[in-house]
Symmetry: C2
Subunit: 312 residues, 2 copies
Amino acid sequence: MPAPVGLAAGIDMGGTKCLGVVLDGEGSVVREERRPTPSGPEAVVATLAELADDLRPWDTLGVGAAGLVTLDGVVRAGPHLHGVRDLPLGARLSARLGQPVVVDNDATATLVAEWRHGAAMGARDAVLVTLGTGIGGGIVAGGRLQRGAHGFAGEPGHMVVDPDGPPCPCGRRGCWERYASGTGLARMGREAAEGGRLGALTEAIGGDPAALRSEHLRDAARQGDPEALAVLDQFAWWTALGMVNLTNLLDPEVIVMGGGLADMADLVEAPIRRHFGDLLYAPEHRPHPRFAVARFGGSAGAIGAALLPGLP
Amino acid sequence: MPAPVGLAAGIDMGGTKCLGVVLDGEGSVVREERRPTPSGPEAVVATLAELADDLRPWDTLGVGAAGLVTLDGVVRAGPHLHGVRDLPLGARLSARLGQPVVVDNDATATLVAEWRHGAAMGARDAVLVTLGTGIGGGIVAGGRLQRGAHGFAGEPGHMVVDPDGPPCPCGRRGCWERYASGTGLARMGREAAEGGRLGALTEAIGGDPAALRSEHLRDAARQGDPEALAVLDQFAWWTALGMVNLTNLLDPEVIVMGGGLADMADLVEAPIRRHFGDLLYAPEHRPHPRFAVARFGGSAGAIGAALLPGLP
C-alpha cells in the first residue's frame, strides 16, 4: 500500500484527552482538534467518531490508543482507559465512519511519527522509548514496524530488571518502568531525601520528601544542585540498563527517547551514554546506537496515528 | 534471492569443534564432516577451508561462528574462539574458495534451522534461546531473520535481569545467562547444597557441593528428588523471567528452547510455562507464545549455516 497522498487524519487517545490532527501530503499538520477522553466503551467510540467528523475532510484515519491493541484493532485493555476491555475499536469506528480505520498502540504510533518524519527517519533498525508516567515503546526492525504475532510487541516498560525491586501496578516487581519513568525518578528522589540527602531541595518545597516530584529534581539539577544531579545520575543508570537490554536484543541504529522526560535530555543524555557504554555487552567490539530525542512532542502520537494507514 | 536448489554446505564453528554438513534440495543432511577448532585466525581460516573442501561437492556455503559477527561476515570477537579478533572470515573464505561465503552468529544459524525446517517452521515472529554453558539467541520478526543494524541482534544472554546478581565473565552483574544456563543451574544447586539442602544428591556425588553439575540435578529430579525439583523450579523461574522480557518486547508466536539444557525440557517446560504466566505483562489479555523444544540437536548450527545463503 503506498503512503497516503491525500489528507491523513490521526487521533491519539490518551487517558485524559484525545488529540486529532490532519496531515497534508508533505506530512505537515494542517488541522488539530481536541476532546476529553470519556469513560466506557460506547462513549469512547462516540467521542472518537465525533472528533473524526470534526477533522473532516480527510482520506484516511488512524488511531493510537493507550493500551494493548491487537493486530485487527481490538483494544484489549488500557491501564488508563477506564472501562475499556476487548473493544473492537477499529471495526466499530470503520462501521460508523463508513471506511477502514487502523488502530494501534499509542507508543507504536509515536514511533511511526519519529521513524517517518522525525528523529529515526530512514533507520532500518530503531527503538523508541517514551519515558513518562510509565514507559511505552515501539520497534522498527529490518526496515519494518514490528507488531509481533498478536500486536503486543514493544512493551519494554514491563521488562523485569530487578526481581527484588519495587512493586509495579502490573502485579510484578522491578519492571523497568519503576525506574526509568517520572514515577521512578520521583521515588529515587524521595528515597534520597528520606536518607538525609537533597536537604536544600526538600526545604525549598516545604520540607516534605513525599512532595518531591521529577520536575523538582530537574529544576534543582539545572541549577547545579549536586545531590539532585546524583539522583539524576542514578536515574540515568537505570535508563541505560533498559536501553542496553534492548540493544543486546535488537542492535538498533538509533534509540529515540520520547515522552515527558525527554525534556530532561540536556541533563541525562551524557550520563545515559556513559552508563550505556559500561553496561553493554562487548562495547569495544561494536558500534553503539545513536541516541536521539524525539522531534515531535505532545502531538507525536496523533501524527504517527495518521501515518499508520500508509505503512507497508 | 531464491532458496538454494542445489547442494548447500554449512559449517558450525564452535569453541572446540567444527561440524560441516551438506544439505540436499529437500533440506536433508547428505554428508557430514568434523574437525577440531584450532587457535588463532590463520589456523581457523585454513581449517574451515579444508573442511569446506572435504564437504565438496556443494553449491553454496554458510558458516555459523560462536561470536559477534558483523553483517559483512567479520568475526569481531568470540568468547570461545581463542585469538580470533576482527577476522574478516567471510571475505577470507570467499577469496580462498573462489565463491561467496555467508558468515553469521552460530545461534542465529540455529534459529534459521528451526525456523525453516524445525520447531518454528512457518512462524512470522519467533525467538530462539539456546540454553547451554551460556545463552545464545536469534529473532525472526515480521517474517524475516533480524540481524540488527550491525549484525549483533539476538544476544539475550547479556540482558541484565538483576543488577545485584552474580558477576558475569562479560564484566557486568546479573546477566540472564548467570541463571538460565547450565552454569546458572549448577550454581543454584551448589548454593542449595551449601545451605543444607540436596543432602542425598551431594552425598551421592561424594559429599562436595562444589562438584554439583546440572546433569546431577537433572538426574536426581528425574528420580523424584524433591530438593532437586525445587532447584529446577528456581531455574525455571529465571528462565521464564527472561522469556517474559523477550515476549513483552517481541510478542513472538513461538519460543524455541535449544542448547544442551533442552534435554531437560520434560522437567522444566511445565514450571517455565507456569512462571511465565505469572510474570508476563497483562497475561489475561493476550495469547501466550507456544513453547517448543528445538528439533535439531547438535547439528542445528551447521544445518542453519547451510540455509543462510538462501535467506531473503
